[in-house]
């Protein structure tokens, strides 16, 4: 279960997360959501995620920006939250941990990957691209809304599958029997290895005709 390390003396005083969605003024929380969204959309667009051909480059080797941004971001958040929680400033038990439903996570992920290679966006990058006027991104998001509608309408048919294989909000570090710190270190090492490969792939599969102008 989340947050097993050094628990003593944590509970007194101010400790993040500061706002949890159930309590405190809902209005402030929605304002925070809006500000977080601004940072999220800004970072995606600055990173080049508003370009479908740049995103799709991931799958053909000519542009690995997706891998670099995605893994750097997840490592920064992992290390940052690990440091804050070991300093007693963040209670990881109060941070949302997504539940692992084995079949739905895998099948849903496969469907998403197919959507990625067809559409060239994921929902977040589609929003950042639509924000700068990419018409293909608007159409992707309309498709996304239709996808959400189809899901809701087909929900009774797939309901049994959707709730199957629930393992709870398990952490991979716990399943592997590693401490969070060691696990994060290993993920970082693996990511650096992937960054090195990505840089080589970008040279090998370079497509200056595509990458010079999006």
């Amino acid at each position: 279960m989340p947050g097993s390390l050094e628990k003593t003396g944590f509970k007194e005083g101010l400790m993040a997360p500061i706002l949890t969605s159930s309590e405190t003024a809902q209005l402030i929380n929605l304002l925070i959501a809006f500000l977080v969204g601004i940072g999220f959309g800004f970072a995606l667009e600055q990173g080049g995620f508003s370009s479908s051909r740049k995103l799709a480059g991931m799958f053909y080797g000519y542009d690995a920006t997706v891998l670099k941004v995605f893994f750097t971001a997840s490592i920064v958040a992992m290390i940052g939250s690990r440091i804050l929680s070991s300093l007693g400033l963040l209670d990881m038990d109060l941070v949302f941990h997504n539940q692992f439903y084995v079949g739905p996570a895998i099948v849903g992920g496969i469907i998403m990957g197919a959507g990625f290679i067809m559409g060239g966006f994921c929902p977040g990058t589609g929003i950042s691209a639509a924000a700068i006027g990419k018409i293909d991104a608007f159409v992707f998001l309309i498709g996304g809304a239709v996808g959400a509608f189809l899901f809701a309408e087909t929900y009774p048919l797939i309901q049994d599958f959707l709730v199957s294989g629930n393992r709870g909000p398990v952490k991979l570090s716990d399943s592997l029997g590693l401490s969070d710190t060691v696990f994060i270190f290993l993920v970082t090492v693996i990511a650096i290895g992937m960054f090195w490969l990505a840089e080589k792939a970008e040279k090998k599969f370079a497509r200056p005709d595509i990458t010079k102008d999006y």
Binding site: E45, A105, G133, L141, L172
Partner: protein, 173 residues
Amino acid sequence: MEIMRRKPYMNPYLAGVLLGLVLLGAMVISGRGLGASGGIKYCVVSVVGAVSQEHAATADYYSKYYQDGKKPINNWLVFQILGMVVGGFISGAISGRLTWKIEKSPKISKSRRLILAFLGGVFFVYGGQMARGCTSGAALSGMAVLTTAGFVTMIAIFGSGFLFAWFFRKNWI
């Protein structure tokens, strides 16, 4: 013309650090991660509720969003995606990238690009609802808190992308 005043994209590792800090900020302030497909879902649920109150109140899927007089549009994720539009627009504006454009390979027609973009959106959000989150909500935010769900969803999304890439190569390269 426009290309002249266009600024290059941020270094990807730097953009990753920025994105990671935004995610960390969301975890610290609100105890949650980032998400995109969830906000789209809440918008759709709201529209369905506006079009047919009866359907939204009785159908299994929608009714839980309308219990106790709740309004699905007043949701954390909805406000977050509104912010994303503003943040993306600010970034595009300061970097000279605001243009109406259909981005595509010169080998394919505009209509082919738009049909595939539409289908991609349908698949992505459908799969995202199934996996209880997309690239940001399940994979990125999940990995940040070390969940198995986060890592498995990430591997499934990218693995599947590589698997299907060959079939769609003409659309991109």
